[in-house]
């Protein structure tokens, strides 16, 4: 089915002299939650704005269900999006805010009440949005995205400013939307936020694609062959392991990180040379660490001047 996927192809966008997106290509598949990750300023919001036809690309294209967004007659029935939850007229009531959106796309007022119910805002429907908390605004924005019951959904930083309960609610919502066969794209600058909800990851940095992979593959790759070793004879251990062909890095006075050797092989070598050790463990990377590895070079505002702590 082509109807419910997002295809971004060779996308380029610059603002003045700043290149925001530089030849980005990826596809968002239906039936799963795709995390869209990158540091602040990596080009996530720009990409989403181009997908929604808000900004015009300088090169390449972004298609939703095979069409440019601007060519969609009733776009909210095809794509739902949450960009900026605060983008509501403070003097307008929540229900009225959704009503005009519905009218633009020929949706009924009944549907407005349904989504208000779905996001838990039925009580506040007739209150002016100016008095809403951040969490309520976020729910209102999500209601707007769900309004047209679209097969494709985009959420830009949906958990920003939510309390833990709200975060759990969003995760559940994202999973259930994907389970219904929809394509769901969720952006975040913190990988940790996506742990447990995303199936697939598109990682970008400085406007370029860094990784387009499943969460599982990424974790495996990141933790692949690193082994943590704790020993009281650091120098001896390092000499032996390097001679055996491993890559070794000292991380503490009694700790060493080894790669290129399996834990079994390391234990064998240490025993052969009578070297003491208190711990040998295969390293399991967290999603956050995997992400940091990937984006280390792409972080634009890294604090180069500050020496990294040992």
């Amino acid at each position: 089915m082509e109807a419910n996927r997002i295809e971004v192809h060779e996308l380029r966008k610059r603002y003045g002299t700043t290149v925001a997106v530089d030849g980005l290509t990826f596809t968002v598949q239906p039936g799963q939650v795709t995390g869209f990750v990158g540091p602040n300023g990596a080009g996530k919001s720009t990409t989403m704005r181009v997908i929604l036809g808000l900004d015009a690309p300088d090169g390449g294209n972004a298609l939703v269900g095979g069409h440019r967004y601007r060519d969609l007659g009733t776009p909210l029935r095809e794509v739902g999006a949450l960009l900026d939850a605060g983008a509501v007229h403070p003097g307008r009531k929540a229900r009225d805010h959704l009503l005009w959106m519905a009218q633009y796309n020929g949706l009924s007022a009944r549907r407005v009440d349904e989504v208000l119910e779905q996001v838990g805002l039925a009580e506040a429907a007739r209150r002016r949005a100016g008095g809403f908390s951040l969490g309520m605004l976020q729910r209102l924005g999500i209601a707007g995205a769900l309004l047209g019951d679209p097969p494709v959904l985009l959420f830009d930083e949906p958990v920003n400013g939510l309390d833990p309960e709200g975060i759990v609610w969003i995760r559940g919502l994202l999973r259930s939307l994907a389970a219904e066969g929809r394509a769901v794209l969720v952006s975040s600058h913190l990988m940790g936020e996506l742990e447990g909800s995303a199936d697939h990851l598109v990682v970008i940095g400085r406007g370029r694609l860094i990784a387009d992979t499943t969460v599982r593959e990424l974790l495996t790759a990141a933790s692949a062959d690193r082994v943590l070793l704790r020993t009281s004879d650091r120098t001896g251990a390092m000499t032996v392991l390097v001679n055996a062909g491993g890559t070794v890095a000292a991380t503490d006075h009694d700790r060493v990180t080894v790669s290129g050797l399996t834990p079994e092989h390391i234990i064998k070598l240490l025993n052969q040379h009578d070297l003491p050790f208190s711990e040998v463990a295969a390293h399991r990377a967290s999603l956050e660490e995997a992400y940091m590895d990937l984006t280390r070079d792409a972080v634009e505002f890294a604090a180069h001047a500050r020496p990294r702590e040992a």
């Binding site: 983008a87 007229h89 009218q103 633009y104």
Partner: protein, 268 residues
Amino acid sequence: MSPPLIGRALRAEWTKLRTVRSTGWALLALAALTVALGALVTWDLTPPRCGRSDPSCDFDLTRLSLAGVYLGQAAVVVLAVLAITTEYEAGMIRTTLAACPRRLTVLAAKALALALVVLGTAAVGVLGSLVVGRQILAANGFSTAAGYQPLSLADGATLRAYGGTVLYLGLVALLGLGIGFVIRHTGGTVTVVLLLLYITPVVAMAVTDPRWKEWIEQVSPMTAGLSIQATMRLDGLPIAPWPGLGVLALYAAGATAAGAILFRFRDA
């Protein structure tokens, strides 16, 4: 089966206008200010003492009764500007464009909804100031016995002044909306539009050369546009009624076109 896009867009933009309180206040201010200032102008007006044969003697009673639009138009400007700039200031314009990516349709629907609301209110408010003016003037001695016809829409010139004034307010709304699309900030837009409208009388005060003065009055949106209100001494006007309204229409068209082009090609 949904209605065609422009119909849906118009309905949505109407909902937007309807559901913020500022719209009601602005429209109320439009009608109230127009009627109130008109009444104030005619309040202490008495028939002139000069000879009725002197062509420069008689008051243009229709025009004086309709003088309230000088003030009423400020409310129209605020309404028109807010209709677009609040969307930009809240970031809501992105929501709008996500709901309807055809930008020119959005602009057309917004302009149409705004124009309808303004024209409707103006039709009532301007008629109100004619009715109030008619009552006050009759009480002040402009009676049939003294040779004055009561203000009536049956009179061709008065009808033109009435209809033209309503159109004038509609065009002012489009002018404000167009410039709003260009500038996108409320404070800046309101200042610029009010300046554009009210600048001429101030500039004309500074200019003492009559030829310059006339030229300025011919090309300025307010002075030229409001010449549509004249019902007598048309030869003495800097610009004739309909061409004068045409000048304002050009301003409104220019502003709307500029707004449309920028809206179409600029990133939201």
